[in-house]
């Protein structure tokens, strides 16, 4: 038996222990709360805010692009995107299933698209499942809002490019900003320029996205009025140097070349030789930039990248081709300026000549007889230029060709320009680690051998010959409207300016005039009363020896066709180049050019713009000992498939 007092003492002691324990526990709790609520409160306040506040981006429309006459080229239209708000979707599988049914999409495809986003993007960002939804899809989605509150329908401005892929490579296209493009005002999910003018002037065109902050409950439903709304600011409007009518004329002419089966590929760059303003610019075949505007779908993308004609390549800037006879003016001018010849200098052409123990043929069997510079250009006599090239050597040719813009970057305001090549002894030593052989200069004289040029550099070449030695910088930007009205943008300074001897230059120009208006190869570009000056070029894509071996490969080995030109001969207002890949004969390029010049002068003289040309008017020359490769049907430029967009 234990005495009650002892009992009481034990109870007292043990209860005391418990009391102490409870105090310790409560003190610990108080400390925990102090840490959470006082020390770390900022962090949690932010987390709580991001819980109940949702920030919605209001996409800013990009700046509208106008042509030089103020005609709208690229604008914006309203489109709807439908997306899934992942955070408010309780069961994503169910949502995807229902969304597929409501929107008429393929369930498995949608699931895959959504899964890709889940892996790569943060959960708060809604997953866009339909870009540019049809009105029917929007109506269906709206009617099921009650069951599918996680389906968001947003109106967003979307880029609208001209139809028929007009000037596609010039405008480029827009797309979702990649990881590398982020920063500097570009946030995740932003639509930015990915090619062309859209890329070069992205910052100017982009505008500033607006923001709407709203309160949402745990189900993601918006409650009450927005906390804050900053309206989007539209991007700046740009006026381009492009002339819509001329651009259309260029593309119409190329279309005839494609329709007649001559060629699908080529490029043209038309400049104002006085300023370097680009009046028209094309690369063929083209693509439809509208297909990218709302997110390109896989089928379109693989069709574009799988096409062996590579429609995404910008041939005008990136294609490097042998210039052929169009190079002859550079050689002639070099010889004149270096004092090696005078305009009266003559060479006898007997259909070929020997240099360094090798016989070089003239294109004309039987030869041209005795020719001076003027006639050598007009008749494109090879022997004359072999001789002249041999006289001055490759380095002089290099020097003058560079001054005229060949083998140089033009500095045009479009991304990814390639540089051509005009060889020199220094170049060969540096790149091939070999001495230049004088024999190699001979074929350089007629624009073959190692010489390669881009179409845009050829346009600069034509412009420099036209304006008397100023190597202008081709550019597209004429004026910008930053909200205070149009402001003219001064032309970029020319790369170089060399005072060409007027008399010597006139000999070249006269030759080029003769090409078109005399008995030359460019007669098809003749325009009564406008003194068109030009030069055709028919450049082999493979050597005569290689042809036979490669003929069976099925590759298109037909010659490339060039026409460089300016007009009128005295005080030229237009200069440029038309290039037809596998266009067979230089005169075919002259055919294409005629309609372009016709349109230009019609506009200048306030006459109605001529109707698109026909195949009969073009009179393309298909004669060749070379067989045409089997023609493959080209996929038409279709409108983007507007069902499953998410790439």
């Amino acid at each position: 038996m234990v005495a009650p007092t002892e009992d009481r003492r034990r109870i007292s002691a043990r209860v005391g222990v418990l009391q102490g324990g409870v105090i310790v526990f409560f003190a610990a709790l108080a400390i925990c709360f102090w840490v959470l609520q006082v020390v770390q409160t900022d962090k949690f306040v932010e987390m709580a805010n991001s819980n109940y506040q949702r920030t919605l981006a209001l996409r800013a429309p990009r700046g509208v692009l106008y042509d030089r006459d103020g005609r709208v080229l690229v604008e914006n239209r309203d489109s709807f995107t439908i997306s899934i708000d992942r955070e408010s979707a309780k069961d994503l599988d169910r949502t995807v299933g229902m969304a597929a049914e409501v929107l008429g999409l393929d369930r498995d495809q949608l699931k895959q698209a959504v899964d890709r986003h889940i892996r790569s993007e943060p959960a708060y960002r809604p997953i866009i499942i339909v870009q540019d939804a049809s009105l029917q899809q929007v109506a269906h989605a709206l009617s099921r809002q009650r069951e599918l509150p996680e389906l968001l329908i947003e109106e967003v401005p979307t880029r609208q490019y001209p139809s028929e892929a007009l000037a596609a490579h010039l405008f480029g296209y827009v797309g979702l900003a990649s990881e590398k493009q982020l920063g500097d005002g570009i946030n995740q999910g932003a639509i930015v320029g990915q090619q062309g003018i859209e890329l070069t002037y992205n910052k100017v065109l982009m505008g500033r996205d607006g923001v709407r902050r709203v309160v949402v409950n745990s189900l993601g439903r918006e409650i009450g009025d927005p906390l804050e709304e900053i309206p989007p600011v539209e991007g700046n409007r740009l006026q381009l140097t492009i002339d819509y009518d001329l651009q259309k004329a260029v593309e119409d002419s190329f279309k005839v070349a494609a329709d007649t089966g001559l060629t699908d590929a080529g490029a043209a760059v038309i400049l104002d030789p006085r300023t370097g303003e680009v009046l028209a610019f094309t690369s063929q075949p083209a693509f439809d930039p509208n297909a990218f505007a709302s997110g390109v779908d896989r089928a379109t993308w693989s069709a574009l990248t799988g096409d062996e004609l590579r429609p995404l390549n910008n041939r005008a800037l990136q294609g490097r081709y042998s210039p052929g006879s169009t190079f002859k003016m550079a050689v002639g001018l070099a010889a004149l300026e270096e004092g090696a010849i005078t305009p009266d200098f003559t060479v006898y052409c007997g259909g070929g000549a020997n240099f360094y123990g090798r016989y070089f043929k003239c294109w004309k069997r039987g030869g041209h007889g005795r020719v001076d510079l003027n006639h050598a250009i007009e008749q494109s006599c090879d022997v004359f230029f072999y001789t002249v090239a041999n006289m001055i050597g490759v380095d002089k040719i290099h020097k003058w060709a560079s001054l005229l813009g060949l083998g140089e970057k033009s500095g045009i305001d479009l991304p990814n320009e390639n540089v051509g090549l005009v060889p020199s002894t220094e170049w060969k030593q540096r790149v091939m680690k070999e001495k230049w052989y004088a024999g190699e200069t001979i074929s350089v004289g007629i624009g073959q051998g190692a010489v390669s040029v881009t179409p845009v550099s050829m346009a600069v070449y034509a412009a420099t010959l036209a304006n008397g030695g100023t190597r202008v910088t081709p550019h597209f930007l004429k004026a910008v409207d930053e909200g205070n009205g149009w402001e003219a943008i001064p032309a970029p300074p020319p790369h170089s300016k060399v005072a060409l001897n007027a008399k010597k230059l006139q000999a070249i120009r006269d030759g080029m005039w003769g090409v078109v208006n005399g008995g030359g190869t460019g007669g098809r570009a003749r325009l009564e009363g406008y003194d068109v000056a030009g030069k055709t070029g028919t450049a082999q894509v493979i050597s005569n020896e290689g042809r036979v071996a490669a003929a069976r490969s099925g590759k298109d080995l037909r010659d490339n066709a060039w026409f460089v030109f300016f007009a009128p001969r005295d005080n030229p207002e237009i200069a440029g180049v038309v290039f037809l890949e596998h266009g067979m004969h230089g005169p075919n390029a002259a055919s294409v050019t005629r309609h372009i010049l016709d349109t230009f002068f019609a506009k200048r003289d306030k006459r109605p713009v001529p109707p698109p040309p026909t195949a009969e008017m073009m009179r393309f020359d298909f004669s060749d000992s070379f067989p045409l490769p089997p023609r493959r049907p080209r996929p038409s430029l279709r409108q983007p498939d507007r069902t499953v967009a998410a790439r």
Binding site: D7, V15, V22, S218
Partner: protein
């Protein structure tokens, strides 16, 4: 002490009003139900106060049998809500017998240990007491309501501890418990219970599911800051990011709206109530009284500490309410009745 208890009830009531108030304003039906529960609870408190605890203890075996029968009844005819069968439908009020099991056990154990002639508790005594606890515990666990079931365990240990059980036995039990834990993990726990525990260890592994509540609880508490967002000003509770803000997570909602200051006040009140009650145990006239106070207080204290820890996202989420504050009629009535018993002991410390 009564005023501290009432203050806690009112704080809880305020939070229930704040978090359940419908969009248009005004009070919810839940709020009025809670007022009724407090009134009924006060009556229960007075009733438990007025009868001498000794005569209650004498009849404790009847109460115990009644409760066990009720718990069996729940399993047979109970109302299912949220996946478990805990309630008996009594028309306007749903009765949750498991809440009353706590006070009943306190009475039975107090009587059992109080009547023991010896000062020291033997292993046999402890085993018998454990069996007395085990029966209702297993019945409640069957509902399943593991949370409430577990709150019965502290009743046993607190009473046994104060009744003089040697520390050696506690040590042995602790070792056995540790060894049994993995076995329990494997066989005894339901999948959702395992999930809750594993999510607690790493809440982000399931940020939308079970870990969600824990993360949200911590955000709720932390974002309250030192002074809170104001009455009805909490975004977490108001916009339902924090689930059951009027019930299991009422303390989180309090912390959000009234900040650290509100937390300290509420903690202080609870501490005061508990310490004063333990004081009553010391002052009790007999062992029976002291053990009774301990028994009632043990499950209360355990639940308070566990719930508040969980409210701060520091313990696995478990369906344990916060006594006196959380919404729940049976809990309120049973808790107030329990304090009736404690006051009963305190009041009769001088009588014979």
């Amino acid at each position: 002490m009564v005023s501290a208890i009432l203050a806690l009830c009112l704080i809880g009531l305020g939070q229930i009003y704040s978090t359940t108030s419908p969009a248009g304003g005004g009070a919810s039906s839940i709020f009025y139900t809670q007022i009724w529960a407090i009134l009924l609870g006060s009556i229960a408190l007075v009733v438990a106060l007025s009868v001498d605890y000794r005569s209650l203890a004498d009849k404790s075996h009847f109460i115990y049998i009644a409760i066990v029968l009720l718990l069996m009844g729940v399993l047979a005819f109970g109302v299912i809500r949220g996946g478990s069968r805990r309630w008996i439908d009594l028309g306007p009020l749903n009765l949750q017998p498991s809440e009353f099991a706590k006070a009943t056990l306190a009475l039975v154990l107090a009587k059992f240990f109080g009547e023991s002639r010896r000062g020291v508790i033997t292993r046999v005594d402890f085993a018998i007491a454990a069996a007395i606890v085990a029966l209702p515990l297993l019945l409640i666990a069957q509902q399943p309501d593991l949370g409430t079931a577990v709150t019965l365990v502290p009743v046993l240990f607190a009473v046994a501890f104060v009744a003089g059980m040697p520390m050696r036995i506690f040590g042995i039990l602790a070792i056995v418990g540790l060894l049994a834990a993995p076995i329990a993990w494997k066989f005894a726990l339901q999948d959702y219970q395992k999930e809750r525990i594993s999510t607690f260890v790493n809440p982000s592994q399931d940020a939308r599911g079970a870990g969600y509540q824990q993360i949200q609880a911590r955000i709720t508490v932390g974002s309250g800051g030192p002074f809170g967002k104001g009455f009805k000003g909490g975004t977490q509770g108001q916009l339902r990011f924090l689930p059951v803000a009027h019930n299991d997570f009422i303390f989180s909602a309090l912390a959000e709206e009234h900040g650290f200051v509100g937390v300290v006040v509420a903690l202080g009140l609870y501490l005061f109530v508990i310490l004063r009650s333990l004081e009553a145990a010391k002052l009790a006239k007999d062992r029976l009284g002291a053990y009774l106070v301990l028994g009632v207080l043990a499950s209360f204290t355990f639940q308070v500490i566990y719930n508040i820890t969980m409210s701060a996202g520091l313990a696995p989420v478990k369906g344990l309410t916060l006594p006196l504050m959380s919404y729940g009629g049976s809990s309120m009535i049973a808790t107030l009745a329990g304090f009736g018993l404690i006051l009963n002991v305190r009041m009769r410390r001088f009588t014979n």
